[in-house]
């Protein structure tokens, strides 16, 4: 998570200006469309739409690459490791129990892998392109009914806002102090036990220092008003363009699904 705060800077583009609620609806519809597609052409169309959206977001394709990498590490790597290991075990034991019996249906799984990646990417794109206040406002709108059944959603949202404020204030300080000290420890040629001990000291010092801010954070919580976290729908030119582009995509996908072009 090296540059998570700097990544917010990309939220200054066509996609970022679209109403967060409408964008959420479009993202959900796009994900549902991707799940229900059976045709390769439909998936290609959705992929192209996603690339176009990434470019319109003002981001380069590095965003797509980073997402693919995370997805690959968490989903694909275990899957392919599983295939290799099951095949390997199949050499020594009954093949029925392992590779052949493991229910490997490559084409089906590949299709599922692609669809899951699309959903993964759509979620990331939504988060990256939505300004935090708008996102918190959407969360409040969606989850506020839970307040009535006793779940303190509003309190958690205020805490979330305070955490984001606190992080903004303390990340630079942490990088220049604790991170640099820890870097110094791992440059030395001491034993692992010594390094762990020194790292623990840095962490204790950091925690002790941070807890001195308790009063400041209490004031911040008191100052943060839940009514500041709000959302109201706005419809302008950008929203119309976004909805229109989605309708065009949906039409093309329905056409490709019904005609079975590929």
């Amino acid at each position: 998570m090296p540059d998570y705060l700097s990544s917010i800077s990309m939220k200054n583009s066509f996609l970022a200006e679209i109403d967060a609620g409408l964008k959420a609806c479009l993202a959900i519809l796009l994900a549902v469309t991707a799940i229900n597609c059976e045709n390769r052409l439909s998936l290609l169309l959705i992929f192209l739409y996603m690339v176009l959206t990434t470019v319109s977001m003002g981001s380069n394709l590095r965003f797509l690459y980073k997402n693919a990498l995370t997805y690959g590490i968490l989903i694909l790597f275990p899957y392919f490791c599983g295939i290799i290991l099951s095949a390997f075990l199949g050499l020594f034991f009954s093949a029925d129990t392992y590779a052949a019996g493991a229910g490997l249906s490559f084409a089906e799984t590949l299709l599922r892998v692609v669809k899951i990646f699309f959903i993964w990417y759509i979620g990331s794109m939504y988060i990256y392109s939505t300004p935090l206040p708008a996102f918190l406002g959407i969360l409040r709108k969606v989850f506020s009914p839970l307040n009535k059944i006793g779940l303190p959603v509003n309190r958690y949202l205020v805490m979330l806002k305070c955490i984001l404020n606190e992080l903004n204030e303390s990340v630079a300080d942490f990088r220049s102090n604790s991170l640099e000290q820890a870097r110094g420890i791992f440059r030395n040629k001491a034993s692992l036990k010594t390094k762990v001990g020194e790292l623990a000291n840095i962490i204790v010092f950091f925690i002790a220092n941070s807890l001195h801010r308790t009063e400041h954070v209490q004031e911040l919580v008191a100052r943060t008003d839940i009514s500041d976290i709000k959302y109201s729908l706005k419809v302008a030119k950008n929203e119309v363009w976004a909805a229109l582009s989605f309708v065009i995509l949906l039409t093309a996908v329905i056409f490709s699904e019904t005609m079975r072009i590929i």
């Binding site: 899951i116 984001l164 308790t214 954070v217």
Partner: protein
């Protein structure tokens, strides 16, 4: 401890968990396996388990996952981090509070890492609808033991220091 002070401490601990995980960038992992990370944020979960109650521990894990998902990885990642984080926190809390003295902090940390990785593999298997990913579990379990031991060692020293310096009793 009054409610406002408790909220402030939870906010600070969530921030600490996120910032401490930045240290992972400079610490070499003994087993370089894709998807394996030290999980230094677990130190804060362990501290919370020792010094706070279960509700606060779960709030810290939940808020940390939400903030990290909001700021970096995206919505799908939330499914993995919340399920792994909450289940490992619950297991660690049970081991610490209900089986007091049977497990050291290092042992609890290892158990937490094992549960975290196992739950993540279960989720991956459920999403892919492919049980074959479970073949990867032994590799993840071995790495969980190593990373759990490292974070457990740091947590152990940190908790001892916190007790010695009475950091929490001063501020809370």
């Amino acid at each position: 401890m009054n409610k406002n002070k408790k909220i402030a401490v939870i906010i600070i601990l969530v921030c600490n968990a996120i910032l401490i995980s930045l240290l992972e960038l400079i610490i070499p992992i003994p087993i370089p396996v894709p998807g394996v990370k030290l999980g230094l944020a677990n130190i804060i979960t362990l501290i919370a388990i020792v010094f706070l109650d279960l509700k606060d521990v779960l709030a810290i894990v939940l808020l940390r996952c939400l903030v990290v998902a909001t700021l970096s990885k995206g919505l799908m990642m939330l499914l993995f981090s919340i399920s792994g984080g909450i289940s490992s926190a619950l297991v660690m809390w049970l081991l610490y509070k209900k089986m007091f003295g049977l497990f050291s902090i290092k042992g609890i940390s290892i158990a937490g890492a094992v549960v975290h990785n196992t739950v993540q593999i279960i989720i991956a298997s459920y999403i892919l609808k492919e049980p074959i990913v479970f073949y990867y579990l032994p590799i993840l379990l071995i790495s969980a033991i190593v990373t759990g031991l490292i974070t457990g060692s740091i947590s152990d020293l940190t908790i001892k220091e916190i007790r010695k310096r009475e950091i929490f009793s001063d501020s809370v």
